[in-house]
C-alpha cells in the first residue's frame, strides 16, 4: 500500500561521517558545540542530567560549559521532547535560533504540534538521532545504576530487549527511515566509532553548509544496518499489533485493560499531543446530580469510581489518536501500569492507516480531520449513492 511509498519518501543520498574516537556521545555533542561556537544557533535543546541527582531533564543551553551535563541519548525519556519544545515556544515569537536534538518520536510529536500551532519551528532546527529506545521511567527511578548499565549494553548492541519500554520494543520508526520530519539526522548505526550527519531538509542542508560539513560520504552502510533492524522491529511490531487486537476483540477487552485506571490523567499530561490547558474530560461539562449516578448504578448494579474512566480514554483517543506518535510517554507516566501506550499505539496504527496518514512525517500533510476528500470513505455510505456522488462530481 502507498504507506510504503511514504516510508521511503525522503531518501537522502549522501551524508557526512564524523569520527568518534572518544565516544559517540562526544562526537554528537561536538556537532552542537560547533554550531553554538560558530553562532549558527543561539541555543541548543538537549537532554541533560541534573547535577547531584539521577534525574534527566531537558535543558536549553547557551553556556558551552553545560554540555558537560548534556546527554544525547539518556536511558529514559523524562519529558517528551515535543512537549519540552512547545513549552517555551508556543507563546509569542521565538527570537533565538535553536537546535533541538530529539528522538525520532519526539521530532514527530513536534511536527504534529506544529500543525496544531502549539510550537514555533521557524527558528528551530530539529535534529533526530538513531534511537536505541529508552528504559521504563519507574524502573530507572527504582534503580538508576542497574538500569543505566543495562541500557548502556542495549544501546551499544541495538538489542531489542524485553527491558526496554514496550513502546520502544515495538517501534519501527526509530530512525530517519520514514522521513521523520526533522531537518538533520544523526546516524549511529552501521559505522563503527563514527557518527553520520544527514540533512533531511533545506534548513538542515543549510546548517550543514554553515558547519562546513559537505555531504559526500556514502550512507550505504548506515542504510543497510538500519533496514535490517527496521525489518526486525517491524516484524515485532506486527506481532504486537496482532496480539493486542486479539485482546481487545474480547468483550470488555478494552475496559479490562483499563480497570486499574485511577483517573490521574498522567497519560494525558505526559502526552505531547494533548496540548489543551483544560482537558474536556476534566471540565465540569460532564457532572451530573447524585440521582443520575445512583440511577446509573442501579441499572448496572454498581457504578465504578472514579467516573468516566472509559469516556476519558476513548474520548482522548478520539481527540489525538490520529496524531499519536507512539512515543509511550503515557505508559511511562502511568502509576498503575495500565498498558495505555500500547492501546493507543495499536488503535493509532489502524486509524492512521485508514487515513493513509503518518503523524510527524511531513510538515505539509494536513491533519486528517482538518482535511477531507469528497470521494473518500464511500463504503460507509450506501454504495450506489456513493456512485452517484462521484459521477456527479465528475460532471
Amino acid at each position: 500500500m502507498n504507506n510504503n511509498q511514504k516510508e521511503t519518501k525522503s531518501n537522502p543520498k549522501k551524508g557526512k561521517t564524523l569520527p568518534a574516537e572518544k565516544s559517540i556521545k562526544d562526537a554528537v555533542l561536538n556537532i552542537f558545540k560547533k554550531a553554538l561556537a560558530d553562532n549558527i544557533v543561539d541555543a541548543v535543546l538537549i537532554p541533560a542530567k541534573v547535577p547531584d541527582t539521577d534525574a534527566y531533564s531537558w535543558i536549553l543551553l547557551q553556556d558551552e560549559s553545560l554540555f558537560d551535563i548534556a546527554d544525547p541519548l539518556p536511558p529514559v525519556m523524562n519529558v517528551q521532547g515535543g512537549r519540552a519544545l512547545s513549552s517555551f515556544s508556543k507563546n509569542g515569537e521565538l527570537d533565538l535560533k535553536i537546535a533541538a536534538l530529539m528522538r525520532p518520536c519526539e521530532v514527530r510529536a513536534a511536527v504534529e504540534l506544529l500543525k496544531l500551532h502549539q510550537v514555533d519551528l521557524d527558528n528551530v532546527t530539529l535534529v533526530s538521532i538513531d534511537c536505541p529506545g529508552a528504559m521504563p521511567l519507574r524502573d530507572y527511578m527504582n534503580d538508576p545504576k542497574k538500569i543505566n548499565d543495562s541500557f548502556k549494553k542495549i544501546s551499544e548492541q541495538w538489542e531489542i530487549s524485553e527491558s526496554l519500554r514496550p513502546a520502544c520494543q515495538n517501534c519501527h520508526r526509530f530512525s530517519l527511515m520514514d522521513g521523520t520530519g526533522s531537518d538533520l539526522h544523526i546516524g549511529l548505526l552501521g559505522e563503527n566509532k563514527k557518527v553520520t550527519l544527514i540533512s533531511n531538509s533545506s534548513t538542515g542542508r543549510d546548517v550543514m553548509d554553515k558547519l562546513g560539513f559537505e555531504p559526500k560520504d556514502s550512507l550505504d552502510k548506515w542504510k543497510a544496518t538500519k533496514e535490517k533492524l527496521v525489518k526486525e522491529k517491524s516484524k515485532k511490531r506486527e506481532s504486537f499489533l496482532k496480539e493486542w487486537q486479539e485482546k481487545i476483540k474480547k468483550t470488555d477487552g478494552f475496559f479490562n485493560e483499563l480497570n486499574k485506571c485511577i483517573n490521574c490523567h498522567n497519560c494525558m499530561n505526559a502526552c505531547p499531543i494533548c496540548y489543551c490547558q483544560q482537558c474536556y474530560f476534566d471540565s465540569q461539562t460532564i457532572n451530573f446530580k447524585p440521582e443520575t449516578y445512583l440511577q446509573k448504578s442501579k441499572e448496572k448494579g454498581a457504578l465504578r469510581f472514579p467516573l468516566n474512566t472509559l469516556l476519558f480514554h476513548v474520548g482522548r483517543m478520539s481527540h489525538m489518536v490520529l496524531s499519536c506518535v507512539a512515543c509511550g510517554a503515557c505508559e511511562d507516566a502511568c502509576p498503575v501500569s495500565v498498558p495505555v501506550g500500547r492501546l493507543f499505539s495499536m488503535v493509532g496504527d489502524q486509524t492512521q492507516k485508514e487515513f493513509d496518514y503518518i503523524p510527524g512525517l511531513n510538515r505539509e500533510d494536513a491533519l486528517p480531520l482538518q482535511d477531507f476528500k469528497k470521494d473518500e470513505f464511500c463504503e460507509v455510505e450506501t454504495p450506489n449513492e456513493c456512485e452517484e456522488k462521484v459521477t456527479e462530481e465528475a460532471k
Binding site: 541534573v50 531533564s57 535543558i59 553545560l66
Partner: protein, 141 residues
C-alpha cells in the same frame, strides 16, 4: 565602589497607605534605595502570594509587601487576609529551608514616610549582606 553588588528588590504597595507613604517620602526628599522597584496595587489584599513567589523564583533578591496597618485598611479588612497569606508563604519558605529573609511584610501608613524610608533602607542593607538570590542563576527551577 562601582562593582558593588546592588540587590534587586520588588515592593508591592497598597494604593491607599503604603504607596501614598512612599510618595510622601519622595515629596520630603528622603533617600530611598534605588534598588527598590515599587508596584502599585489597590489593596495589599490583592497581593497574591504567587506574585511574591514568582518574583522570588524569577530572581528577585527581595520582595516587600506593604499595606495599611491592621484596622486602617481602606477596604476595611483586606490586610488581615494579606497577613494570613504572608504567614502562610513565610512558613512554607521556613520549612523548606528557603531564605525567608527575602520576602517580608510591612505595614506603612500614608503618613509614615519616615517608616517607609527606614524599612526600605534597612531591608536594602540586609539584602546587600545576604547577597544575590541563587534563583537568579539557577537553571533547574
Amino acid at each position: 565602589m562601582n562593582d558593588k553588588y546592588t540587590p534587586n528588590i520588588i515592593g508591592f504597595l497598597c494604593n491607599w497607605c503604603s504607596y501614598t507613604g512612599a510618595d510622601l517620602a519622595g515629596t520630603s526628599r528622603m533617600k530611598i534605595p534605588p534598588s527598590l522597584k515599587t508596584i502599585r496595587v489597590m489593596c495589599s489584599g490583592r497581593i497574591d502570594p504567587l506574585f511574591v513567589l514568582k518574583a522570588f523564583i524569577k530572581g528577585a533578591d527581595g520582595v516587600m509587601m506593604m499595606g495599611c496597618h491592621p484596622g486602617d485598611c481602606h477596604y476595611q479588612k483586606g490586610n488581615y487576609n494579606t497577613r494570613r497569606r504572608f504567614v502562610m508563604l513565610n512558613s512554607i519558605f521556613d520549612i523548606l529551608g528557603l531564605e525567608k529573609k527575602r520576602i517580608g511584610l510591612w505595614w506603612v501608613s500614608a503618613s509614615e514616610a519616615t517608616r517607609f524610608a527606614q524599612v526600605t533602607n534597612e531591608y536594602n542593607k540586609e539584602m546587600e549582606k545576604l547577597g544575590p538570590n541563587p534563583t537568579a542563576k539557577e537553571i533547574f527551577l
